[in-house]
Amino acid sequence: MFRRVFYIVDEAVRTLRRHKGLTSISIVIMSLSLLMLAVFLLATDNILKVVGEAQEEMKIYVYLEDRTGQGAIEGLYQTILEQHEVQSVVFVSKDQALADFRDQLGDGADMLNALRANPLPNAFHVEPKPEFKNRDAMVALSARIQSMSGVEEVRYGKEFIDKFQSIVRGIYYIDGVVGFIVILSAVFIIANAVRLTVISRRRTIEILKLVGATDPYIVAPFVIEGAFQGGVAAVLSLVLLRVVTEATSNAIPDLTFFSPEKSLLYLVICVLIGSLGSFVALRKILRTQP
């Protein structure tokens, strides 16, 4: 068993070394089409990150009636905190709110001196749990809080959320269509590069069959070569992508590169594409040849 594995790996390594030219060409073709795929994936990754950050900002502001007493406020605090969608609640008193506002105005704060009474209400800043930061959950939670006694007004940026939701939906749609085209063309180009390698070695396959090689012995070296080519092409395309993102870092300053985990996943997928491509191309030839 071990000996067979050794022969098969040996076979793959020898062919890769013998056919340096063809191997390099198909690696270059693969890395370029993978670069296209990587650019798309990086764009998607960053869009998702931006969307996530925007969702972070989703909060509910609960303004209280002025006549609500200290005890009632504490009761209300508990009730809101007990809602299952709620992550945390922060109480901001009238005075606190005015002080914050004064800080924010800076030089313009003088106009606040004209005030005889503080017009700002006591408030809760409610932070929903991440999974409830969507339009429907926000609406439901707000309505429930609105109906509690002592609550004067609930604000959750309805207009912003509605607009945000439709923009995100549009982005996802475009991303999906582009992704479909990019993935399809990458797979197509890679499959063709692999097929070229296999066809160029038709004669070898024919001879191996004549001397009595079993199908796995014929297929395995090709699959190893395909995996190798896919892996090298993946690394090359990531390096190229890194170069591209560095070069354009002035134009797109907030672009973040793939995390190490995502890079590894990408590598694994490319290795799989390479080896599967070889396998499929080979099976066709094996069937048609006696």
Partner: protein, 271 residues
């Protein structure tokens, strides 16, 4: 010899084999058996069905009706995954050698054993002995395209023998060779047969097959036209000598004709 023991010794059996292609009959009701260690020439003009018949024997193709037996393998009960094991019992040699151009003589011969999972030591021993047998030990590291046609064919023969097959199939093995190399190859094949390996050699060249004392199966239009055993006239070397003389005379005649033609077409051209 009794009928039963003859059956035991059969290495190839072809029974009522008919092969039909869309263009028509390629082979029609072909019957013959080849015993262990026998030497058989398969002759007939090109298009008579020699190659088709050989393909049925190494099971690259299957009969439309009838049956082919090779050792314990039966064409009508063959599964796709059994075919490699049949091929290891049958050595095959072609007119165009079918060597792997990108590896050495040694590796070309070794490939037949590597696929069986033999140890490196076993491979080295067997391949070295075969290289000596075909007289190419000094060229073991050479690539096929640096060898002459006759040498390439000897590599192909060594590869065919690497797993000790019961029979060697040769499809026009001398077809691409000059007469001297062809004679060498024929001698080598006789020597292999003398070692106990049965041989079925297809050829359209009658000068080879007459009077060598071998069995001849003559195919014509897809049918066995004749199945007879010739008698060796003189000894083998004399016969090969006669063939060589015939060829030498023929070559001289052809050269003379060519020369005459050249001088009539371009009379001003100096030698």
């Amino acid at each position: 010899m009794t009928e039963a023991s003859r059956e035991d010794r059969t290495v190839i059996g072809v029974y009522h084999l008919t092969k039909t292609f869309p263009s028509g009959h390629a082979l029609e009701d072909v019957n013959f058996q080849i015993a262990n260690g026998e030497f058989v020439f398969l002759v007939g003009p090109s298009g008579a069905g020699k190659s088709t018949l050989l393909r049925m024997i190494y099971m690259a193709d299957f009969p439309t009706s009838g049956q082919v037996l090779v050792g314990q393998f039966v064409s009508t009960r063959m599964k796709r995954k059994d075919i490699p094991y049949l091929r290891r019992r049958v050595g095959i040699v072609f007119q165009d050698y079918k060597l792997l151009e990108d590896r050495s003589v040694f590796d070309n011969i070794a490939i037949g054993m590597r696929i069986t999972g033999a140890t490196l030591y076993q491979i080295k021993r067997r391949v070295t002995s075969l290289l000596n047998e075909v007289g190419l030990f000094h060229k073991r590291f050479a690539l096929p395209n640096t060898l002459s046609g006759g040498e390439q064919q000897r590599v192909a023969i060594a590869r065919a023998l690497v797993n000790h097959p019961a029979i060697l199939l040769a499809d026009e093995p001398t077809g691409n060779l000059d007469p001297d190399s062809a004679e060498d190859i024929l001698r080598l094949i006789f020597k292999i047969n003398a070692g106990g390996t049965a041989v079925l050699m297809a050829t359209h060249d009658h000068s080879f097959v007459q009077n060598f004392g071998q069995r001849i199966i003559h195919l014509r239009d897809g049918k066995v036209f004749e199945d007879r055993t010739t008698h060796l006239v003189g000894n083998l070397s004399d016969r090969l000598e006669a063939v060589r003389l015939d060829r030498e005379r023929q070559r001289r005649v052809e050269r003379e004709i060519k020369r005459q033609r050249a001088s009539t077409i371009a009379p001003t051209k100096s030698e």
